[in-house]
Symmetry: D2
Subunit: 388 residues, 4 copies
């Protein structure tokens, strides 16, 4: 991963980013934080601890001679997918750990933060700056996942609790225009000075044929038309795999939607509320995005089409499904060692989403950013932009 970071690493910036994580969790009860209601969800406590463990493992334990490990068991509890670093708790068993308590995990955060702040204060070699920057980007990615996971935990229990940290959507222009982009050879990939992940590097040329792309996301009102036209019952619109999926899971609408006496209601972090037709539709799978586009006689853009066109529209409310599979760029090289596990190992059977969402950290969005999820997932903040 690239590390020509602007702004640079300071104790203030470090602590500010870290404190955002706690702010998101500030209205959670201890009962809320140890649960894993689905394989793709992690308990909030785990996010709080895992992001902390990153700094302990890759910075303090290796480079700060004064550092005493907070609790030697935590490396085992809170490692995630880093096979390189010792044994780890299986992803699906993260929800079995009621201990350490939330309070202990918050103490762990404070302890590591204090060491990190004074470590940064002493000045950093540039490679260490790079590692800490990755840790902060990683923290911000988990801030977004935290919001997804809390929403999933709250949205799947009968009491529908609310979170004080809400992330409301706003209406986009209701008039839809299709922006024309000319055919040509375009440069793709991260090109400037700021931070990026390794999967954005390998700047390269891509030839695009002419296409048109929508100036805004598909709205709830438009999506309800699709539902009411029988979109979920017409296999012709769906991938074979998507069709099987919605049959097996009995899916008839976006995640968190409920039809109450004929009216569409939804769970949001602010509570149970009517679906607002003017807002962009969220919490759809790639299958649903694809079927909607088929029904409209359109298609989803590729990630390259999206990147080239992105200066012509606003984005940032919802991650936008593209019809590109998540694959390496031509000159992509996996970094050796634990940090190299970060991205390359996921480059099969996932689809790229571009843009950002209302749950994304403010300074954590750029036109070259490549997010990725499996085609069936819906708990992330995902939406639909059409191309043709």
């Amino acid at each position: 991963m690239q590390a020509k970071t602007i702004p640079s690493i300071t104790p203030e910036r470090f602590l500010e980013i870290r404190s955002k994580t706690e702010q998101i969790c500030s209205s959670l009860e201890p009962e809320d934080v140890a649960l894993q209601p689905a394989d793709f969800v992690s308990p909030p406590k785990w996010h709080l601890a895992h992001t902390t463990w990153f700094f302990e493992q890759f910075v303090l334990s290796e480079f700060d001679k004064n550092y005493k490990v907070f609790n030697p068991d935590y490396a085992y509890y809170f490692n995630s997918y880093y096979n390189t670093v010792g044994d780890r708790v299986l992803r699906a068993e993260r929800g079995l750990m009621t201990r350490p308590t939330l309070k202990s995990v918050l103490d762990y955060r404070a302890y590591v933060n204090a060491y990190m702040a004074s470590f940064i204060q002493k000045g950093l070699a540039s490679d260490l700056e790079g590692i800490i920057e990755i840790g902060l980007q990683h923290e911000q990615q988990h801030q977004e996942l935290l919001i997804y996971d809390i929403k999933y935990i709250f949205g799947n229990q009968p009491a529908f609790p609310t979170l004080h940290h809400t992330v409301p959507l706003t209406a986009e222009p209701q008039t839809q225009d299709f922006i024309p982009i000319e055919e040509g050879l375009y440069t793709i990939g991260h090109q400037n000075e700021g931070f990026c992940f390794d999967n954005e590097l390998g700047q390269h040329k891509v030839f695009l044929h002419a296409y048109n792309i929508s100036n805004r996301l598909v709205t709830n009102a438009e999506y309800i038309e699709f539902i009411e036209a029988g979109g979920y019952e017409d296999f012709n619109l769906w991938h074979a795999e998507g069709w099987d999926y919605i049959q097996n899971e009995k899916i008839k609408a976006p995640l968190y939607w409920h039809n109450v006496n004929g009216a569409w209601m939804q769970y949001t972090l602010g509570g149970f509320t009517a679906v607002d037709g003017h807002l962009p539709v969220a919490h759809v799978s790639l299958y649903e995005a694809f079927a909607y586009a088929q029904w409209k006689g359109c298609r989803l853009p590729t990630e390259f089409e999206w990147e080239v066109a992105s200066s012509h529209f606003n984005y940032g409310q919802l991650w936008e499904w593209t019809n590109s599979a998540y694959l390496p760029y031509p000159h992509y090289k996996k970094v050796p060692g634990a940090l190299g596990e970060y991205n390359g190992k996921f480059m099969v059977n996932q689809m790229v989403l571009r843009g950002a969402s209302v749950a994304t950290a403010k300074n954590h969005s750029r036109a070259t950013y490549r997010n990725f999820f499996q085609a069936h997932l819906r708990w992330q903040f995902s939406g639909i932009r059409l191309a043709k």
Copy 2:
């Protein structure tokens, strides 16, 4: 269920029994109480609320005109298997409810306790005495399940937390004698004045052929001999179904046992400790009890043999697997309505255990008591008594 209760229902007795439940949970953290790590486990919070709901539903809502329901949603959240009474949360989804919080549930308990105490104070018709007695017996059953479930939650996470409410076993006579019982016609079932469940009624005669039964339970030391003799590798000793089960689950020892560098260690509610050879072996399935008996050239007693012989030995440390399936007694009648769901519906594919355990409420044990579990379960406090 029979209700010639001695002692009778008083506010003091009611509150004393109820407070025991909270005592068991007093050292739990809020993070511990919302988890369901296996289908057969319920979250501690659910036990606390469900036992309370029983009194709200079957006593206060029906018979106390002053009563205001604490929270109308709780009937939906905390109903268990009582299909008669409205919708309910699926058993396997009990662990998805982080809310209401532990504190709210304890408030619910206090609220219902206060109403119940004053309701009892006013005097009770005898049928109401019967219902409340069942509620208290039900509470005590859940006290035992709470201990099983807490042990399972703590014993399956890497930090192995401890509970301040421990229930240690003690050594039985180390000399094994086989007590001879003569053939004859014996009377089985509840015969005296005290409380019993409906499955103990239907007093009836059973003819028993002569048999011998051990004066004590099988010890850990004896069970280790079985392990070391290859008991878990010899399919000849096992039920076909039991053999498949231990292969699939890779079972090589009782639940909570770990072989650490050749030494047998185990998780107990007091911590991780060496297995004490003098204590009775616990946490075995019916399959394991059966295989052990086969290996010893013995067998398990039937529930009738156990009941007839029970005055000749001490029991009460561990529920003892019998080789009797859980089936109705000759004159068994299912009570109509919600309370009738209590026992009869489980009378298939479960095995009877007799006696009591160190986790059983003190006044909740008698020679006619019929406990029952599926043959593969091991998280209950179960042990082995041999017959031949």
Copy 3:
């Protein structure tokens, strides 16, 4: 198993029994014989070969010095649950073996038959007579299973093929009487000279309280009343486990029944036909038998009640579910070695059926015979007799 056989083992009797197996299969196509559509079904080819392997393995290979094994691989292919004798093909993988062909398996039968006939001709020691008698009884048990399995294979494919070997039911007396049996001490288990299986031995006394038992089986017309009264929708009538089972499997009627425009039709080995209300209802699970009895205000008899009353009614059309679990008789001893695996290892989580069915070999039925199946199974020829 006991072996005071009358009639004795002669080449004629041996070949007559064996040829019945081929008669059952005579109208099968080669395509029909290699299929295993469910775990509890075995391919017809496997039955043909496995019953032959029994004589090769336990008689010829051990006692006939002239015998040359037909094909040394067959012992591996066609062993069933006899763990004692080498490796074996997993039960669920029996349906993957397209080879050897049906023709090869019939050659195998002829080859072993010829050796057996001449071996028997030379005269047999009495223990050998016992083993061969078991082999013939085993063959006859598989003749019945063959009919179950062929029906399942034919009844679950869209073409509904027919078998020339049909086993039609006949109407029983349409007037239902309940035969009263007095309380008393009765002797249970095999008591006379003929053959029996080891699970019938251990003759012993059982005390029965007074009861009444129906003179005939429940009819299709009566069962349709139960269906139409909403029996499959009222959880109060069902075991908890049975209720879950019919929900998960979406069961609304006996196996092989189809509701075609409001009329009940069924697949039989003779073809697709209307359900005849006068005939006994067949292909029900224990759960359904139990629920029906609950709905009628009756119950199922125990196996002891059935055995004692069996001289007072006709039986033999359908195996009759009892409410007794399949457990050892008091003096039951597992025979050591491979033949000892026959019965004892199945004595958990199965229910006893008594009587016989139209698919049972003629000389293979007696009042003490203990058949057993898991409570959810329905492909066997099972029916319902009420008691109260």
Copy 4:
């Protein structure tokens, strides 16, 4: 799909292609043809009938007024994924149909062939030529699948039967050269007169950066080095999903390989034989191809790199995994109606393979052909070409 077919449709060409299907099956026994040992396998009988049904459904029933349907049930039995045309037998239940017999299916083929030959003889409109051409291409695709499926059926039963129709691999040049290809703008997709599938159309430009590609496939000897170097034990080489897959399935070598006393043996359609180090390695998943390439410090080519370089090397022994996901070309349009279901609906979570295999029909291979399979599948004839 495009239909400027050269050669044109004649009765002779039609029957020649059709007869090849029967030739492949000529040494099968009836027992072999009704089995479906895995979800991705279809019974040989089903292939024989399904390819025939295509002509009955899309040609004769629609355009030949003289045609009488052979058996009206067959449309239901032998439809595959064409949801547009009536109900169909679920893919996973194809293996439950023992009837119609092999003989009936061969009769069906002869019947339809006779009608088709005389229908073609009369002369065809050009759109009908197109449909028949698709039917023949479809037949040839199933000829290849037949070989895969027969190999799977034979290779997963203990008797390891052989097929008289073998498709042996031959050694490629043992010296490995990497062919350099210059960066530039290339045209991709079907460009000439012959037949192609719709997924090859949408000719378009792709910019490629400079790369190198191997002149030959990876050999068994090279792959054994990878195995012996611990390739299957080093998670660093694998996709996260691939690593989980080989752990769960306990995969340690290509499909059909067995380690017998330290020597690598394999099942081939000609029998069980030693692995020949000079031949190309076959029956690997995308995961294994990727891991091998990682281990070699190389990578897999994209499908565009493969297509551009394909004139520089020989191909045709094994389908070659590319690192391209199966996605639509820029101007791809799904054909409306039943035939439109052919390709587009599979364009998610599959990877492209290029080239052809020894099991591919001779006139059925071209540089633009896009084959596709899920990343974990191994029963197809797949191999590895490296790029860097």
